[in-house]
């Protein structure tokens, strides 16, 4: 991609419409530059984000996944983020048992006012994933041939 030919991680971010998406908007409004590796998919609420989507992201070749929504108490729908939090509490344990790399799955609360946090989180995840290298283990699993 660029002259150093370094590995560029592919990061999929599932974010809620009312906090993190707006936080990312704010990062834009404030022209906070951050790595271009992240692809945002907008949901109304983190409560809508199913665990299957994390699996699907890895199947699609993601090297890291970010799930982000409103801080506790701030959910536009009051409780969607609490449902999400409980889901991830359990799901992480399953993934850990499966030996899936938890360092590639990130959860954050980023509010509409936290444009800077968004930029920092994306920069941090990009750098960390760059260090870890491509998620070849799951890419091998996902290579869809019998």
């Amino acid at each position: 991609m660029n002259e150093t030919n370094r590995f560029e991680p592919r990061i999929i971010a599932y974010v809620c419409n009312w906090c993190t998406y707006l936080g990312a908007d704010l990062a834009g409004t404030n022209r906070l530059e951050y790595p271009a590796n992240v692809r945002i998919i907008r949901f109304p609420c983190t409560g809508r984000i199913d665990f299957n989507l994390i699996v699907k992201a890895f199947e699609a070749g993601a090297d890291a996944v970010l799930v982000s929504g409103c801080h506790p108490g701030d959910c536009h729908y009051t409780a969607g983020n609490y449902h999400a939090r409980r889901r991830w509490m359990l799901f992480r344990q399953l993934l850990d048992t499966l030996g899936i790399d938890l360092n590639r799955i990130h959860f954050t609360w980023i509010s509409a006012a936290e444009g800077r946090k968004w930029a920092q989180v994306v920069t941090g995840i990009t750098e960390q994933t760059r260090q870890m290298g491509p998620y070849t283990a799951y890419r091998e699993i996902a290579r869809a041939s019998a």
């Binding site: 999929i12 984000i49 889901r87």
Partner: protein
């Protein structure tokens, strides 16, 4: 076959500086399903929108993607443009290549690649958009107000004055609530009843208000716009229509020694009584536990004999009445924390050390209000309960139960600082030479003319304030020995008082939880009802069409409760301003064929918008159980989709197909 139009915006230089617009336009044209791909300097401008409209028609587009700024900025704009050109507005998606791309990524190559991915995802999403039409919900333009205190009165009058019918339900025999019993109000010291009673009369006479006193909400069915509320009218034993309120009955009643609820147990009433002279309705009620006739079934009946209107009916029974309403306002108010030993909640331990209930001259703030009130049991003279002497030294203790994690409630009851200052002033005004001592933790007097008021109490009226807590009260020789600390002076303080007034914490009124459950309104750990959003939706609740105001939401003073009541009325009127309710169609729906009726979604829905239902054949034969979304209530969060194992729940606008094809479009 999809015919998608993609419109890439330069946003002047904003996008174009870092994203190669030409390359994007060309590459996008090759994406499967894309019919046309064009770019323009300002898509949101009139000429930009005109191009979109033209292409929708000339290319017979089935969906469009505008690659420009955030959907929060212009999604509505482009939806409107599509609608003008005859395309369903929900067939429009945006790719945010400005805020999420050109403004944050300055490497042209990387920004262009990302813009392409964002558009690719939006194209996949829009291909699977459905035509949607706003949901229309019929609306009963009548309101039900629960609670006839100052907040309920205000809300009811506002709505009634706007021309809509209101049913006002009050548990007690009269409306008026706590405010009717107050003496004077801070910070103006105007008479509480003088302000309130005209409003009460207005309620009683308002042609649009139907008053249900001595009544409670039995059950609630339906949803926003269409509530059906069953009200239990408790047996009053007095025919409200025949009764003239003359008073012959209660004047003749021989059962006199009943503690008056209105006087907070400081005075007595008859077995047939009106709670206070200005009661609305001015109609008596018989206390069935006190009345000899009702207890024994025979005898007495003096009231019946005296009543010329023949209004006494000992055979009266509770009646259930059904009211229809489009909106419900909850204004059930507060009660005081019971400082005696016995508690309804294991976490609360009371304040036995203050001797409330043991020493007659230790009273709470509402009792003091009655002592000071001109309409009170002492006619406004401050006489202590034990011996009727005028106390020469009164100690006021604040934060009893409030701000106390150990044995009380964590929150600040907010009004005690102000009313205690008021109490000291009223006491000092009425008792020349009397001493008013106040123990406090902090003085919180934020509000218009509030701090000035407190300063007046201290500086002009000479109330003595000690920053510290009282550890114990004992009684010696007819004096209450109050032992406390003055932390500012760093010394213990002992005061020999004639009376002690406790500023006790406010708690939500009894029965509010049962009511909240009937209405599907949430409440916090202290039992105060939860607003939908602490900042932006302070009088709405998560149950659409149910609003809250006054102290059922949190401790608050009269002006705040009234302002909130008007806000709740305003929200109701906004709703009533339309013929029917229209709601965003991007909501959940359940595939009833595949639903296994585990009802996890019913448990999880933050809006109780999913109900247990049955699928029936056209002839009404049971086919299966299923979950079903109430379109009137669903807010479209999609929590149900993630909770549903079989994915029988689906969220329009963010369907499973859309999301998965977006993610999969990133697959290399």
């Amino acid at each position: 076959m999809a015919r998608i139009g993609v419109f890439t915006c330069w946003c002047g230089e904003n996008v174009a500086r870092h994203v190669d617009i030409e390359k994007v336009t060309e590459t996008v044209a090759q994406m499967p399903g894309v019919r046309c791909s064009i770019n323009y300097k300002y898509m949101c401008s009139d000429p930009g929108q005109a191009q979109i409209r033209d292409k929708i028609q000339s290319e017979r587009l089935t969906g469009l993607v505008v690659a420009s700024c955030s959907p929060h900025m212009h999604l509505k704009t482009f939806r409107k443009a599509a609608q003008t050109a005859g395309l369903n507005p929900y067939l429009v998606e945006m790719a945010n290549i400005r805020e999420h791309c050109s403004w944050v990524h300055h490497n042209r190559e990387e920004a262009t690649a990302k813009a392409l991915d964002l558009i690719r995802m939006s194209v996949e999403k829009v291909k699977r958009d459905h035509e949607l039409v706003p949901i229309r919900v019929p609306l009963t333009r009548r309101a039900l107000v629960i609670g006839g205190g100052v907040a309920g009165i205000q809300a009811a009058l506002d709505i009634a004055d706007a021309g809509h019918e209101v049913a006002l339900v009050e548990r007690e025999p009269s409306i008026g609530g706590k405010m009717a019993g107050l003496s004077e109000t801070f910070p103006t010291l105007d008479c509480s009843q003088c302000i309130l009673t005209p409003r009460m009369v207005e309620v009683g006479q308002h042609p649009n208000i139907k008053l249900y006193t001595y009544s409670e909400v039995e059950s609630v069915e339906g949803y926003v716009g269409n509530f059906k509320i069953t009200i239990r009218q408790k047996a009053r034993y007095v025919d409200m229509v025949k009764c003239t309120g003359c008073g012959d009955c209660w004047n003749s009643c021989p059962i006199k020694k009943n503690l008056s609820e209105f006087d907070c147990g400081m005075g007595f009433r008859k077995a047939i009584y009106i709670p206070f002279p200005q009661a609305v309705p001015a109609r008596p009620v018989i206390d069935r536990l006190a009345c000899t006739r009702l207890k024994r079934g025979t005898g007495c009946g003096l009231c019946e004999k005296k009543c010329q209107a023949k209004a006494i009916n000992f055979a009266d029974e509770d009646k259930l009445v059904v009211e229809q309403a489009g909106a419900v306002i909850v204004a059930t108010g507060y009660k005081l924390y019971n400082i005696a030993k016995e508690q309804d909640n294991a976490q609360l331990s009371g304040y036995g050390e203050y001797g409330y209930g043991k020493y007659k001259d230790v009273i709470d703030a509402l009792q003091f209000e009655r002592l000071v009130s001109a309409s009170g049991p002492t006619g406004g003279e401050i006489k202590r309960p034990s011996d009727g002497k005028i106390p020469q030294s009164v100690v006021f203790i604040k934060c009893v139960g409030s701000r106390d994690n150990a044995k009380g409630l964590a929150y600040c009851s907010k009004i005690c600082c102000m009313y205690t200052a008021k109490h000291t002033m009223l006491y000092k005004h009425k008792t020349p030479g009397g001493e008013a001592h106040v123990f406090y933790m902090d003085i919180r007097a934020g509000g218009k003319a509030y701090d000035e008021f407190v300063r007046r109490a201290i500086e002009q009226d000479g109330a003595k304030y000690y920053r510290g807590r009282v550890s114990k009260i004992t009684e010696e020789n007819g004096k209450l020995i109050v032992r406390g600390a003055d932390t500012l002076a760093g010394a213990p303080v002992t005061i020999e008082a004639d009376m002690v007034v406790l500023a006790v914490a406010m708690r939500p009124a009894d029965g509010v939880h049962a009511l909240a459950q009937k209405l599907n309104v949430g409440y916090d750990e202290f039992g105060f009802l939860s607003e939908s959003h602490p900042k932006l939706r302070p009088v709405e609740t998560n149950a659409a069409g149910v609003f809250i105001c006054g102290a059922c939401h949190a401790p608050k003073d009269i002006p705040e409760a009234v302002a909130q009541a008007s806000a709740a009325a305003g929200k109701t009127l906004v709703m009533f301003g339309r013929e029917e309710l229209t709601r965003e169609p991007e909501i959940a729906r359940i595939n009833e064929q595949t639903c296994a009726a585990c009802y996890t979604c019913v448990r999880g829905c933050p809006y109780t918008a999913i109900e247990r239902a049955e699928t029936l054949t056209p002839k009404g034969v049971h086919v299966k159980y299923t979950a079903r979304v109430n379109e009137g209530l669903c807010m479209g969060c999609g929590t149900c989709v993630a909770l549903c194992p079989s994915k029988s729940a689906e969220l329009e606008g963010f369907t499973e197909q859309q999301i998965y094809s977006m993610v999969e479009s990133l697959m290399t």
